[in-house]
């Protein structure tokens, strides 16, 4: 009897962790058949009442006449719509936890020249912010460092994974250049125009000096590689080494630039330096010089869309209309929020751009296939096509509309739990127990 009791206790103890483990919702892969859905492929039109099959990490079939594998878990999507996972082309997600606490801010390093630092290093896969954001259908983001002239390398990450490497998409990294500006840094910036101009010139001189060095460094490195016996091996210079792939066009340069005069300077600078793989990011006043950007053929990561005009005299809606005006001029655009905690609002940035001139179709492309193409991963993500990664979500309507609910999210083939701390707080506190009555133990 005693032994029986002991066995029972041991069994109970052993069962504890298992029981708890099942309480934690986990992502899972397998074979999924999403049936009877309105499938918005983005690149191949809209399929009404279609089926989409996911096997492991890939989309393996899409259409109205698709055979459902017997092992598939069927999710009936009657009345629902499937979209490719949205891509936010500029955020700090994963690099920051609490805005005002420096200990939790990892998107800025000391110094003007830190191209050697890598955003991916500091991405926290378990940030509370990530589950809050991905349940709105944003599956992939550019997370970027900032500050100084060359703040480091941005990375394209999926919003699921247990290590930064698991989150990294297509090996995409972009070197960030915060282009010198002739503008005010904010309403509090009371510098005289001459001082601003002087600071701009100095910053440009510094940029050119750095780039001269980098080009020289690249020539030395190339000479050494071509003939290691004859030429000296270049000394390792931490802020030059990471610029090599940029100079050689192997890594894109993301130029953060907002104001019209700065954009024009940046276009000239890119031409002068012969840079082929360049994207602009921010581009708040892109609309003023849209034809020049189009002519230069530089794609733009536009946003935040929900923002203020850059000048008092500008029409109130210029920030909303910017993406549409750039698109109309022939610029290839993607949309960025510039957010961390509220990357979940990406569909609304796109929606406002849509309402103020971009149109719904172009806005949808600006958060799906366009960024995929700009970052060179359109063979992997950005649309619903057979062979692409299963990065997608299922919603009960137009995802740009605030009232639309996202029902399912798949990232890299994983069905993501639609759980996060904000939802749990809702479930706990909607009808609190106890309500007003005091708990008996306090009497």
């Amino acid at each position: 009897m005693k032994r029986l009791l002991l066995l029972w206790i041991i069994g109970w103890l052993l069962s504890l962790p298992a029981a708890q483990a099942t309480d934690v919702p986990k992502a899972r892969r397998g074979v999924f058949a999403l049936t009877n859905a309105r499938i918005v492929t983005v690149t191949q039109g809209v399929i009404e009442r279609g089926t989409l099959i996911i096997r492991e990490d890939r989309i393996v079939a899409i259409g109205t006449d698709v055979e459902i594998p017997p092992e598939a878990e069927v999710i009936d999507c009657t009345g629902l719509e499937i979209y490719p996972g949205f891509i936010d082309s500029g955020t700090h997600l994963g690099l920051i936890e609490i805005g005002s606490l420096p200990e939790t801010r990892d998107y800025r390093e000391l110094g003007d020249l830190t191209p050697q630092v890598d955003a991916l290093t500091a991405v926290n896969p378990n940030s509370v912010l990530i589950p809050v954001n991905r349940v709105n259908g944003v599956t992939t983001v550019i997370t970027e460092p900032e500050g100084g002239l060359l703040p480091g390398k941005a990375a394209l990450i999926n919003l699921f994974g247990y290590t930064p490497e698991q989150m990294h998409v297509g090996g995409v990294r972009l070197m960030v250049l915060d282009f010198p500006s002739k503008g005010r840094r904010g309403p509090w910036d009371r510098r005289k125009p001459e001082d601003i101009e002087k600071a701009f010139r100095e910053a440009m001189d510094k940029l050119n000096e750095v780039w001269d060095r980098a080009e020289r460094y690249a020539r030395i490195d190339s000479a050494y590689r071509a003939n290691p016996e004859k030429n000296p091996k270049p000394l390792y210079v931490p802020e030059m080494q990471p610029l090599l792939p940029v100079i050689r066009g192997e890594m894109p340069l993301m130029i953060k630039v907002d104001l019209a005069p700065d954009i024009l300077e940046a276009i000239q600078w890119v031409k002068k330096r012969g840079l082929k793989r360049v994207v602009f990011s921010g581009v708040a006043e892109g609309w003023r010089v849209a034809d020049k950007i189009a002519e230069a053929g530089i794609p733009c990561l536009v946003g935040p869309v929900l923002s203020l005009p850059t000048r008092e005299s500008d029409r109130y809606d210029k920030a909303y209309a910017n993406a549409g005006l750039l698109h109309a001029a022939g610029v290839k655009i993607a949309i960025r929020t510039g957010e961390a905690e509220n990357v979940r609002n990406l569909p609304y940035h796109a929606g406002f751009a849509a309402a103020y001139g971009l149109g719904r179709e172009a806005a949808l492309r600006a958060v799906t296939i366009n960024p995929a193409e700009i970052f060179g991963v359109d063979d992997l993500i950005g649309s619903l096509e057979v062979g692409k990664k299963a990065n997608l979500f299922v919603s009960d309507g137009d995802p740009f509309e605030p009232k639309t609910q996202v029902r399912y999210v798949f990232i890299d083939g994983y069905l993501i739990p639609m759980d996060n701390r904000q939802l749990r707080l809702y479930q706990e506190f909607l009808h609190r127990q106890p309500g007003l009555e005091l708990h008996p133990a306090t009497h």
Binding site: R184, P193, D314, E341, P402, L425
Partner: protein, 461 residues
């Protein structure tokens, strides 16, 4: 006697200033879908506006002679949006020199030229509750303004007859500015409570001294009055119930604290601003009759908002707390209709409930619900006309009307709507907002913050 004289002066001044704001219009809005907020949605409905007031609502109304007609066919008419927390149209936000500065008022620094007034109108916003900042435990008095952009007299912005309100602030901001910044209490949430209790005790003694004096004066014409103190005057008016408290707060514990303090001093009306953790104490708020004015989804920008949820407004609403969605930002302020719409996603509020969050509910919180916040006969003609349902992402505000006067018209909107252009100023430089533009402005004017913003361009709320 001096006080009576002062009061008379104030009243006279009040009359003069309200006289400035009397420009009111006549309009006829034809055939719109009217979102009344308090009386459902009316299809194909006309609204007649006479002398700045809603004179009639109905189908096929007759257009009086000489009244301008706006054809709203296919469009949506809603009450002008009310932002219960804003810092636009003032040239200073904080008097950050003392934990208690009840004597100052942002009404003294109104700036009718502020372009943000116009931008707010372009988002359908007709009224802002312009608040002192959150640097002090008891900050300055606020001002409820109408967006009468185009008027150049600061007094023309004031919403005549709106109740007086004052800004309180709990938690990280006052403890940072005073405790950490200047080494004077409060440094903790305990200190914040102590500062408020101390202020109210002093105000109570001040009231009692004046009451004793008034009694004594009846017997003794040569009685000596107590020293006049403007700060204590204002605090006493809070105790008398003449000034509504709007309190910057985030955490549940500090919200409970203020309700306990107010109960002890017999103060009944309070609106908790921001109140990111109000959802945790929704039953207590409802029982007290306290209201909450919250963000739709802002969080994680400082530690005291780390345990926030976008479901806050829905939880509060379902628990019977009168709730509004505010901006505290000249950027969010332009799309409060969109901020409110998110509550349909986060917590499943109905369209009418979502609209109430930015119309009748903020009106209740400011004590102006008899005048504005819904489309009803007799109310002020403060209206916004949208191209689509305002809770849709595709809605564009077409016209905004204040007191029957069209103050924003998207179809007649030139590029530059500044009222004052300074010829002495060098060529207008653009502002590079970057990603950090919509930190809210509660702490604007604090040197520490501006320094940090400039050097770190960090998000400071």
């Amino acid at each position: 006697m001096f006080r009576v004289y002062l009061l008379a002066c104030c009243l006279l001044l009040g009359l003069i200033t309200t006289a400035h704001a009397q420009r009111k219009g006549d309009l006829f809005i034809r055939n719109g879908t009217v979102l009344t907020v308090t009386n459902g949605t009316l299809e194909n409905t006309d609204i007649l506006i006479r002398n700045g007031k809603i004179a009639a609502i109905g189908q096929n109304l007759k257009v009086p002679d000489g009244v301008e007609v706006i054809d709203a066919t296919g469009m949506y008419v809603m009450p002008g949006i009310i932002d219960a927390h804003s810092h636009i149209a003032i040239s200073n936000v904080n008097e950050a020199t003392n934990p208690v500065t009840a004597e100052v008022s942002v009404g003294d620094v109104l700036d009718p030229y502020d372009i943000r007034l116009y931008r707010a109108l372009a988002g359908g916003v007709t009224i802002s509750h312009v608040m002192h900042g959150s640097a002090n435990v008891i900050g300055g008095q606020n001002e409820t303004i109408k967006h009468r952009y185009g008027e150049t007299d600061p007094d023309a912005l004031r919403m005549e007859g709106a109740p007086r309100t004052i800004k309180f602030a709990l938690g990280e901001n006052p403890t940072r500015v005073h405790g950490r910044g200047h080494n004077v209490p409060p440094l903790s949430r305990m200190g914040v409570e102590f500062i408020i209790r101390d202020a109210f005790h002093k105000a109570r003694r001040y009231m009692e001294a004046w009451d004793r004096y008034e009694q004594e004066r009846k017997r003794n014409p040569r009685a000596v009055p107590p020293p006049y103190n403007e700060r204590l005057e204002v605090l006493a008016d809070i105790l008398r119930g003449n000034i509504l408290i709007h309190c910057h707060s985030y955490r549940a514990d500090e919200i409970l604290m203020l309700m306990r303090v107010l109960k002890d001093f017999g103060i009944q009306r309070v609106v908790f601003q921001h109140a990111n953790e109000a959802f945790k104490v929704a039953p207590e708020l409802a029982a007290f009759g306290a209201m909450a004015s919250v963000f739709s989804d802002w969080w994680a920008y400082k530690f005291e908002v780390y345990y926030s949820t976008a479901y806050n407004a829905a939880i509060l609403t379902r628990n019977g707390v009168i709730t509004s969605i505010n901006s505290d930002s000249p950027e969010l302020n332009r799309h409060l209709y969109h901020e409110a719409a998110k509550t349909m996603k986060y917590g499943g509020l109905t369209e009418d409930e979502a609209l109430a969050l930015i119309t009748i509910n903020p009106a209740r919180q400011l004590g102006i619900e008899d005048r504005v916040g819904s489309i009803e006969v007799g109310k002020d003609a403060d209206l916004a006309i949208f191209s689509a349902h305002p809770l849709s992402i595709y809605a564009v505000c077409k016209k905004t009307i204040v007191d029957g006067i069209v103050r924003f018209d998207a179809d007649r909107d030139p590029d530059d709507m500044r009222l004052r252009v300074d010829p002495e100023r060098p060529v207008e430089l653009a502002i590079r907002w970057g990603d950090h533009q919509h930190g809210h402005r509660c702490l604007e004017g604090i040197d520490l913050i501006e320094f940090l913003t400039e050097t770190l361009q960090s998000e400071w709320q």
